[in-house]
Amino acid sequence: MNRTKLSYKDYQNDKKTNYAIGAILIVALLGGIWLLEQTIAPTHIVFSILKKGAIYSLVAVSMNLLNGFTGLFSLGQAGFMLLGAYTYAIFTIPVEMRDSVYQYFDGGIIQFTIPVIAALVLAGLVAAAVAALIGLPVLRLKSDYLAIATLGFAEIIRAIFQWDKLGVLTNGSNVLRKYPTFSSTLYPFLVAGICIALICLLINSSYGRAYKAIRDDEIAAEAMGINLFKHKQQAFMISSFFAGVSGALLAMFQTTVTASTFRVAMTYEILLIVVIGGMGSISGSVIGSFLYIACSEWWLRFLDQTQFINGWQVPLLRTGFRKVVFAVIIMIIVLFFRKGLMGDRELSVSRIRAGLHNLIVWFATLPARIKGAGRRKKRQAGEKTTVTDTAQKTKQEGGADQ
């Protein structure tokens, strides 16, 4: 076996094996989830973490496409998720249920349903269409104005969907419910996985390179012949499309939809996930969202309850402390680890292979290195004695001279 350290680049040309390993990993992941579903009770918290994590990773990746890859600081993600969630719900509530859902609006005006998959795509399309309209004025703005304008649009969309006069369509400020949902954890994984794969393909295409050029230097990109507005508009629409799809998935996960859940805080949450994962890293966003969801809903839960250790009450622990700790961690990441978990690198099969190889090499050469270190130490110790010996000798000689 090769005992030298390897970089991921050494594996990059070995495409066939890489693809095979990638496929095996994906199948193993899905199979693992399937196995988990067979063995653990379906009410266990791990499933809701996995489902929500998958949904959030899709929306985080879609936000990363804008913020990390195109350099557009947009804060409208919650608004587009709202559009997707409502579109999905409105078009899939079974006709016979509509009277009970739209009880204040005589059953609403839409009296037909479309298949779930079609509704998912439609959710994305509606979000993308609205993004196209919004993009026309907004994308001409510079970074921070763009942030505020998109934030404002999300608020306007929320206000419109809560408006009573549109109640026949949106049910006003009442919840939408009784639409088809998913029960298997594999469902959000598959949908989000396919969408994220599409985004990956986009980013590695010539369009993706154009987006990165715009991010790095707008003026230089324009000089190279990239149509700034066209590409920004495109990125904005594509990002909104996937935000819409993830909104629809979130609607399925929550089983009810109200406009009031899609607040600015939600966009902030997604932005922080992107920052934790690393701006400009898709795998970072995915890892970041699973970590974030797991921490905030599961692992840090204990911070919200009063705890006793040997009868001693741990101070500070009570409702809300979890979020404070969380916010402090995020501030530390923002201030000191600005690149997040992944920076702008990607977790790829070749990286995993290189990492594994280096780990094996590390362990394989461990005995040799320990021996080597021992020998070195001995030699150093030997040298030291000789050095001190000579020093003492000279000292003695010097003393004799005096």
Binding site: D144, I148, Q162, L272, G320, K323, A327, I330
Partner: protein, 302 residues
């Protein structure tokens, strides 16, 4: 023409309470907006945490007033709020001064998230009742409308404070330094201006005005919740953009216009859209006249 005047007067008499409320809210927005516009003028940063500092000022007064008389609680609240503003700048913005602009904005959002969550933790998610401040909480009747004294106090106090601030910026040394730094960050540094001190002074002035604003704002409301600062904060920012970001009189005029329009919209029965209106206005301004009413024109240089 006569008919027009008649409809106008009838409009004013029916909407008088809303217009009065608008002027009052406008004054409060103005006091917040100054903080935004000054910080933006110098650091080119939207201080997303400003609205939350404003909320924190409200909470601090509630907790201070619970254990001491108001004449001590109010100065204490102002001092603590200013200290928070100063610390936020030192801890969250100063280390990122040479970082890309997006990082500083994310840091600002992080601070906003932190302050909101801290407030949630401290209050336990309950709405805290704001103490009634004597004299400015008293009711007065003007024409057909009955309001609190604060409605009349706010515009006067706002204008006095703004005049004082404009004088400070025009005639004192620190004001001159602020103008220089907002004109050119690097050159002013080369000219021996201590940038950090100027930026701290800006944050101190901004948060001081926000503290006064919170005093007036929350008197009109029954309680303080952790997220109450976000909306006035965003609206104040829109006001600052409307007036031309970096311009103090612009921010004040913008704030009054937004406050009045918003309340008239409420009066017309479109309450759902009173928040949306502000943002629609923002987008229209940014498209039609991005430099705002009194802003200076900026061109991009390579």
């Amino acid at each position: 023409m006569e008919q027009f005047i008649e409809t106008l007067t009838s409009f004013f008499s029916t909407n008088l309470p809303y217009i009065l409320a608008g002027i009052s809210v406008g004054g409060q927005y103005a006091l917040i907006a100054i903080g935004y516009t000054m910080v933006y003028g110098i650091l080119r940063l939207i201080n997303f945490a400003h609205g939350d500092i404003f909320m924190a000022a409200g909470l601090i007064l509630i907790y201070a007033a619970a254990s001491m008389p108001l004449y001590l609680a109010i100065p204490l609240m102002i001092v603590v709020t200013v200290l928070i503003g100063f610390l936020v700048e030192r801890v969250a913005y100063k280390p990122l001064r040479s970082a890309p602009r997006m990082s500083i904005m994310i840091s600002a959002i992080g601070v906003s998230y932190l302050i909101q969550n801290l407030a949630l933790y401290v209050t336990g998610g309950l709405t805290k009742v704001y103490p009634a401040i004597p004299w400015i909480s008293d009711s007065v009747t003007i024409g057909s409308a009955t309001t609190k004294m604060v409605t009349l106090v706010t515009p006067v106090l706002t204008i006095v404070l703004v005049i004082a601030l404009v004088l400070l910026i025009r005639y004192t040394k620190i004001g001159m330094a602020m103008r220089a730094v907002s004109r050119d960050f690097e050159t002013s540094q080369l000219m021996g201006i201590k940038i950090d001190r100027v930026i701290s002074a800006t944050f101190i002035i901004g948060t001081f005005l926000a503290a006064i604003g919170s005093l007036l704002f929350f008197t009109n409301y029954t309680g303080v919740t952790p997220t109450i600062g976000a909306m006035p904060g965003l609206k104040a920012f829109v006001a600052a953009v409307f007036g031309g970001i970096g311009s103090i009189p612009g921010a004040v005029i913008g704030a009054f216009i937004i406050g009045i329009c918003e309340n008239i919209i409420k009066g017309l029965g479109w309450t759902t859209f009173s928040d949306a209106f502000t943002f629609a206005l923002l987008i229209v301004i940014l498209i039609v006249k991005p430099s705002g009413l009194f802003g200076e024109k900026n061109t991009d240089k390579v």
